[in-house]
């Protein structure tokens, strides 16, 4: 006798079940995370307090959460376009960096100047930078049939090296004591706080706007339908006359533009200059965000907040509990696994079978 487990498709999936799944997944991930913390000899209760309660109750920390969620939201909204169309843009990190580089380039070129035109120009340059960078894997796929997974990923490293070169070479701050960084941006090139004394800037509003537009596009527009059709059933999209190559290009352009804009917002609103490593892997984290949000714009918005809370909590946990940052990465991975597992158990039920050998 041997046993095996089969996944049997469910005929109907109740709405309540679908709504509850992400929360249940979060609870399961928290329990596992707590167990690990306990095994490391720390108090799980204290860890939850630092990881979850503080970022959500402390006003300063809450603002940091919203700031951290801004690039995640923008990038993941863009990625949803690609992933829904079943195109695999893994290189949002590179597009994010290019957006920062081109947006920052405008700030460096206009250094010392003032005027309300500088920020919009930087945004334009940032979006354009990400867009053109994302166009490369799309064109390679369309023209030569090269897998966009590989090309978009490899271009991340090219972008990192480009940034390294620029801040160590032509764009290095002459008065920066030889540190690899650009000049600090002028005030006119920095996103200013929305409130007196706060840190939250207009980038967050843009991110919310992106969510709203994405909701509209996927709920009501022909383009959103074409993207979905192309991802779910390419032959049906072909039957509808939706051009496959054009969809590939457009979803990459949208995704690149949003990642580029996020990059510009990060250097202008948070960092205030170009320096290596400003990407912080946010372009990769946004992939997790998009899938945690089940590829829906609202879901991506919510999961941006959740991941931002974890990232902010991780920073203080490092200081106050001496918990390693890798624990946060582990936890994000755990969360993704529980969400995907929950998703699978929604669609299929487990059936244990006995089989005569």
């Amino acid at each position: 006798m041997s046993f095996n487990i089969a996944l049997v498709p469910r005929r109907e999936i109740s709405l309540v079940r679908q709504m509850l799944t992400p929360f249940l997944a979060l609870v399961v991930a928290l329990l596992i995370g707590g167990l690990i913390v306990w095994l490391m000899g720390r108090s799980p209760v204290k860890a939850f307090d630092v990881f979850l309660r503080e970022p959500l109750t402390d006003p300063w920390a809450l603002q940091e959460v919203l700031l951290k969620s801004t690039p995640l939201m923008l990038i993941s909204i863009g990625l949803i376009f690609c992933f829904r169309a079943n195109r695999w843009n893994i290189g949002a990190e590179g597009q994010f960096l290019l957006g920062g580089i081109l947006g920052g380039g405008v700030a460096i070129a206009t250094h010392g100047m003032a005027g309300p035109w500088i920020l919009p120009l930087m945004m334009l340059a940032g979006a354009l930078g990400g867009m053109l960078y994302a166009a490369i894997p799309a064109v390679l796929r369309n023209r030569f049939g090269i897998s966009e997974i590989l090309t978009s990923l490899m271009l991340v490293y090219v972008a990192e090296l480009l940034l390294d070169y620029l801040v160590r070479g032509p764009w290095r701050d002459p008065k920066g004591f030889n540190f690899p960084q650009s000049v600090p941006f002028s005030d006119a090139a920095q996103l200013q706080p929305l409130f007196e004394g706060g840190r939250l800037h207009a980038g967050f509003v843009l991110a919310l706007l992106a969510v709203l537009v994405a909701i509209l596009v996927f709920r009501r527009s022909l383009f959103g339908f074409a993207v979905k059709a192309s991802g779910e059933a390419p032959r049906a999209a072909n039957f509808a006359g939706f051009n496959e190559m054009r969809i590939t290009l457009v979803v990459f352009l949208i995704s690149g533009a949003l990642a580029g804009l996020a990059g510009m917002i990060e250097v202008s609103g948070q960092v205030g200059q170009l320096r290596p490593g400003f990407g912080q892997g946010l372009g990769f984290t946004a992939i997790i965000v998009a899938f945690l949000g089940r590829l829906s714009p609202v879901g991506a918005m919510l999961s941006s907040f959740v991941i931002a809370v974890l990232l902010i909590g991780a920073e203080s946990a490092q200081v106050s509990l001496k918990l390693p940052f890798d624990l946060t990465r582990f936890f994000m991975g755990m969360l993704l696994i529980t969400v995907l597992a929950g998703e699978s158990l929604n669609r299929y039920r487990l059936e244990f079978r006995r089989e005569a050998a």
Binding site: R11, F225, A233, R235, F239, E355
Partner: protein, 506 residues
């Protein structure tokens, strides 16, 4: 009759609320060729899957050679001497015939010993087969012979065949029947699933007829007429097509002139020098054995695929050779592709959303933002007008049965009021009632002045519907000839040999 091989008693299997098998009894003796008849959805496939260990019954018992058994897997069924030939072949395209035969045989490889055994078996049962050719170069009939040989290698006492003749030419079917008769004469029991009544009457000595999951009759098919058998299957008399009123033919709406098309896939068929004209008010059918270029021709006509090497396609007088599918729709053309799910519809999309696929270019659904009120209204109208049975007001396409989904797809296109309708396999895998409904709808469409082109593997369907029939063979299309002047034998010859050879033989 020989000893009893299989006895099924009270087999019941439910999927949710649907009872696919409801206390089914069936007995199969050695040396018997037993037909299992029924419409699609009558429960034939479920019963066969239970017998082959793919499904477990909720209740009832299975006896093989008098012994009560449980069949938890196909492996267990094979161990009990049950072999099965599926309707859809499970062969590796790039492997040779011999390699494909070796795969399911535990511990065997495609070596000289196996070759000798297979060749002996093939000779004994009259199965001509080229063992060293890769499967993708073989015809449907040859592929089926591999499947049968594969099953025979395990010395089955019972062989199940699921609609084996649906992909065969008349001659290939005759050869198959001879093989089956040999096998039965040597003591095997054969279960023959089909809905082709004439061949059941020709081949089988007993028939079990299923309707709605229940056995409605067990009879000797040779002793009753085909019409009586059909009545038992359908329940309330055979559904006939209603003849449409005489109507004059109008201008040509589809013209193919010297069309040659290169295919994109490795296993596709290249189309050579195709000429065809379909006029307003006319139904033309393209017959032929599957895989002779029909799919490629459909894709070229709709604009979904293929690279046109030479020649032209005209719709309503306009050259559309290099235009896309939506440009063709703008000229009044409508297309129903072969695959209902995943090509004609998004499986996970509701019916209202699926309206968008073929309507967005012509149906004024809104250029950027979609008019969801209108898509909903169109879907409701199609459901109502074409009698689409749905489990809820706006279900996902995948939730509909094959027949109802096909009615929806055909209805969705007719609702666009096309001048030219091109349908690839209008009733493939659709039950008799829905098939009749769809055929009638298309005839009525032609009577109202549209041009209708039907591509069908079902010769009965082609002959019942068409004013003229052309036959596809090896990527070439014969001249379309008026139906009354064309005999089944002539079509059969065209299907096997193509136009030139057939002309030479005549």
């Amino acid at each position: 009759m020989g000893p009893e091989r299989i006895r099924l008693a009270g087999i019941t299997k439910a999927f949710g609320a649907l009872k696919a098998n409801d206390h089914v009894d069936l007995t199969l003796h050695a040396g018997e060729i037993h037909a299992l008849l029924g419409e699609n959805g009558a429960g034939k496939s479920t019963l066969m899957k239970i017998l082959y260990g793919l499904l477990r019954p909720d209740s009832g018992e299975i006896r093989i050679n008098g012994q009560r058994v449980t069949l938890p897997s196909p492996r267990a069924a094979r161990a009990q001497g049950i072999g099965m030939v599926f309707q859809h072949f499970s062969l590796f395209e790039d492997f040779t015939a011999l390699e494909n035969i070796a795969i399911p045989l535990d511990g065997r490889t495609a070596d000289a010993t196996l070759r000798a055994e297979v060749e002996a078996k093939a000779r004994h049962f009259g199965l001509a087969i080229a063992l060293d050719r890769p499967v993708h170069t073989l015809s449907a009939g040859e592929r089926q012979r591999i499947e049968i040989l594969r099953a025979l290698m395990q010395e089955p006492q019972v062989l199940i065949l699921d609609e084996p003749t649906s992909v065969l030419t008349p001659d290939e079917a005759e050869a198959l029947f001879a093989t089956l008769e040999t096998l039965a004469a040597e003591g095997a029991g054969i279960l023959f699933i089909s809905h082709k009544l004439e061949e059941v009457r020709r081949l089988c000595s007993r028939a079990t007829i299923l309707r709605g999951g229940k056995v409605v009759a067990e009879t000797d098919p040779r002793a009753v007429s085909a019409a009586d058998l059909a009545a038992l299957m359908v329940g309330e008399g055979v559904l006939d097509l209603r003849p449409v009123a005489e109507h004059a033919l109008g201008e040509p709406l589809l013209e193919l002139h010297g069309l040659s098309v290169a295919t994109e896939g490795v296993h596709g068929v290249t189309l050579r020098d195709i000429d065809l004209t379909v006029r307003a008010g006319e139904v033309v059918a393209i017959a032929g054995v599957a895989g002779n270029g029909q799919s490629e021709l459909y894709a070229a006509m709709s604009g979904e695929g293929g690279r046109v090497l030479s020649g032209e396609i005209r719709i309503a007088g306009q050259d559309v050779t290099r235009r896309d599918i939506n440009a063709r729709r703008m000229l009044g053309a409508a297309f129903v592709p072969e695959a209902r799910l995943g090509q004609a519809t998004l499986p996970q999309g509701p019916l209202s959303e699926n309206v968008i696929l073929s309507w967005h270019a012509t149906g004024s659904l809104g250029r950027w933002l979609l008019d969801t009120v209108r898509t909903g209204a169109v879907a409701r109208k199609v459901i109502e007008r074409f009698d689409v049975r749905t489990p809820s007001p706006d279900p996902q396409a995948a939730q509909l049965s094959g027949g109802n989904l096909q009615k929806y797809v055909v209805g969705r296109e007719i609702e666009r009021q096309p001048r030219l309708m091109i349908v690839d396999q209008p009733s493939w895998g659709v039950d008799a009632r829905a098939a009749t409904h769809i055929r009638q709808t298309l005839l009525d469409l032609a009577a109202s002045g549209a041009a209708v082109l039907v591509i069908s593997q079902d010769l009965d369907e082609a002959m019942a519907m068409a004013d003229r029939i052309a036959v596809m063979h090896g990527g070439h299309l014969s001249a379309a000839r008026p139906v009354p002047a064309l005999s089944r034998a002539e079509i059969g010859l065209l299907m096997v040999q193509g136009e030139n050879a057939a002309r030479g033989a005549a």
